[in-house]
């Protein structure tokens, strides 16, 4: 079903039209087969890139689309409704570009951003480690400084696009705390673990990224030394909104499938949607999707207005992904036996939904973020 959207400009309306056309013709038709085969659709990201979608929320002067988050996130939502791995891939890429765009010096921005935002390169974000997930500050990957630059040793885990990305945004320990680096995929000493065998999103590669005496120049450091943790957390604030938008898109796809089925399926002489037991489930699904959409858009508009939005981003991520898990689970229930088999997409949606409660900060961490803001008594 086409979501009725309020968009701020004629060009953002045309942009959403373009995305819907791409989803209908290029993205959605191959999602099920590529998920079953575990095939990463690199060429789809090339198409998104040539369509100008890989740099939407960044300034035009460096090749971005200069779009507000309000618009960029609705693009993500539309893509995720067609195929979560593509919507989430775009969110991860955009997150990976954030440190250079927001904290890089003018030289770095001019040298790196046109290629990062221009559509040919795909990014990945290296923060988590095998022993350091929610407790990100416990990381052990280390970049040792010398006169010429840095030498990096360590292992990053759960990296989306690990092994297929063209650049890696790395958060690592240095002499002065935690720092952020831009690492090209061609760096010597960089290697990748086997692709994780996941419950869902099997087309999207997730792998360890290993740094074995990787040499980086001084110019690989993004922001000041010791500023990396702050950069990582700021990047995650935006990333959380991306995940919230993914969750709304995925939930919408599940709702569309379930509601279409319920209008068609007849039992006891009636459409099952007309049985209150099913109709109320669908009513709750539709309501939670709409609430989740309103929540991420509200946080996005705060960000677009230059106001603090981290707590709201955490709320949106928490609510939207929990709603998505519930909606996709209920979609399977509405389809009954048909929901549990691969001929229908909803079992895949349910498997895919689970990861959204985990990535970009587990939903327990989101509650921690919100709870801390409550504890401080600051404005939420």
């Amino acid at each position: 079903m086409t979501v009725d959207r309020i968009l701020p400009t004629p060009e953002s309306r045309d942009l959403i039209e373009l995305v819907r056309e791409l989803v209908a013709k290029e993205v959605a038709p191959r999602a099920a087969a590529d998920e079953a085969a575990g095939r990463f659709p690199r060429e789809l990201f090339t198409l998104l890139g040539s369509s100008g979608l890989l740099g939407l929320p960044y300034p035009e002067e460096h090749g971005g689309g200069a779009q507000p988050y309000e618009v960029y996130l609705q693009v993500i939502e539309e893509l995720a409704a067609g195929w979560l791995a593509v919507g989430l891939g775009l969110s991860v890429h955009t997150l990976s570009c954030f440190p250079v765009a927001a904290y890089g010096d003018e030289e770095q921005r001019a040298a790196l951003l046109p290629a990062m935002l221009g559509g040919e390169l795909l990014g990945a974000y290296c923060l988590s480690e095998p022993q350091s997930g929610s407790d990100a500050a416990a990381m052990t990957t280390r970049a040792v400084a010398d006169e010429a630059g840095f030498t990096v040793d360590g292992v990053k885990a759960w990296t989306t696009h690990g092994g297929v990305a063209d650049f890696y945004t790395l958060i690592a320990r240095t002499g002065q705390g935690i720092s952020c680096f831009h690492v090209p995929a061609t760096a010597e000493g960089l290697s990748f673990g086997a692709r994780e065998k996941k419950m869902g999103m099997r087309s999207s590669p997730t792998a360890q990224v290993r740094f074995d005496a990787v040499r980086l120049g001084r110019d690989a450091l993004v922001g000041a030394e010791g500023e990396g943790f702050r950069i990582a957390m700021a990047a995650l604030d935006g990333g959380r909104l991306g995940i919230a938008a993914c969750a709304v898109g995925l939930a919408q796809a599940a709702f569309d499938a379930a509601s279409a089925y319920a209008r068609e399926r007849r039992q006891f002489g009636s459409r099952i949607v007309d049985f209150q037991g099913v109709g109320f489930m669908l009513a709750d699904m539709a309501t939670s999707i709409e609430a989740a959409r309103a929540l991420y858009l509200s946080a996005a508009r705060l960000r677009d207005a230059g106001r603090p939005y981290g707590t709201r981003a955490a709320m949106a991520k928490l609510f939207a992904t929990d709603a998505c898990m519930k909606v996709t689970t209920d979609a399977v229930q509405v389809l009954g036996g048909y929901g549990y088999v691969e001929e229908f997409p909803v079992e895949r949606y349910m498997r895919e939904a689970k990861v959204l409660q985990i990535v970009e900060g587990t939903n327990q961490i989101q509650r921690l973020v919100i709870g801390r803001a409550v504890g401080k008594g600051t404005d939420l």
Partner: protein, 259 residues
Amino acid sequence: MNIVVCVKQVPDTATERKLRSDDKTLDRDAADGVVNELDEYAVEEALRLKEAHGGEVTVLTMGPAKATDTIRKALAMGADKAVHLSDDALHGSDALSTSYAMAQALKKIGFDLVILGSESTDARTGVLAAMLAERLGAPQLTLARKVEVDGSAIVIERITDYGYDKVEATLPAVVSVVEKINEPRYPSFKGIMAAKKKPVETLGIADASVDASAVGLAAAYSEVAEFSAAPPRAAGTVVKDEGDGGAKAADFLASKKFI
């Protein structure tokens, strides 16, 4: 080369399409307007010819105010500028008077090559290219699956039941294309942004030297006498196999001209 692509906004074939009960014309408000699919192939071919030979691509559309959406899409794909022929007096024009109004606009714009889709998904008369060529005194090269231009010479491959004919002419000419000709590009976001700054000229009938008495519903040579909703699909034909099932099935297919 100065190329003009004619595009038409049509009701989305995925939505329910209706005629208006008052004047029996298409109800353009009842459905979402989209670019006629074959016209996207025409735009693509125009852009490819421009990329190969240089020049300029102008989009021409005739339609109500909301047809600007269609113009914006063609501009976002890469056309350079657009002319929107729009006037209440044009409402209800049939193919013949549409070709007259379009030809007047084309004369005003000037062209080396006019490209359009071979038919629209709404009226499906498929005659506009021929009518335009006649009115413009230019050769018509219709149903092209391939177009090649060399200087002022143009050669197309015209699809036929038996394969294709090679048709040659000299520019200026009118070409209609079929979907085999290319794969239309998607607009890009940069194209969408650039389209905002491209010139769109709106012409009323007076601006295009179109005689008001020769267009519109009153001047139409064809008239919709009456219309009714398509009947629901009738029950199918069951072929019972009594040893001759294959022959009967073949006869049925032959009667429908499938084989």
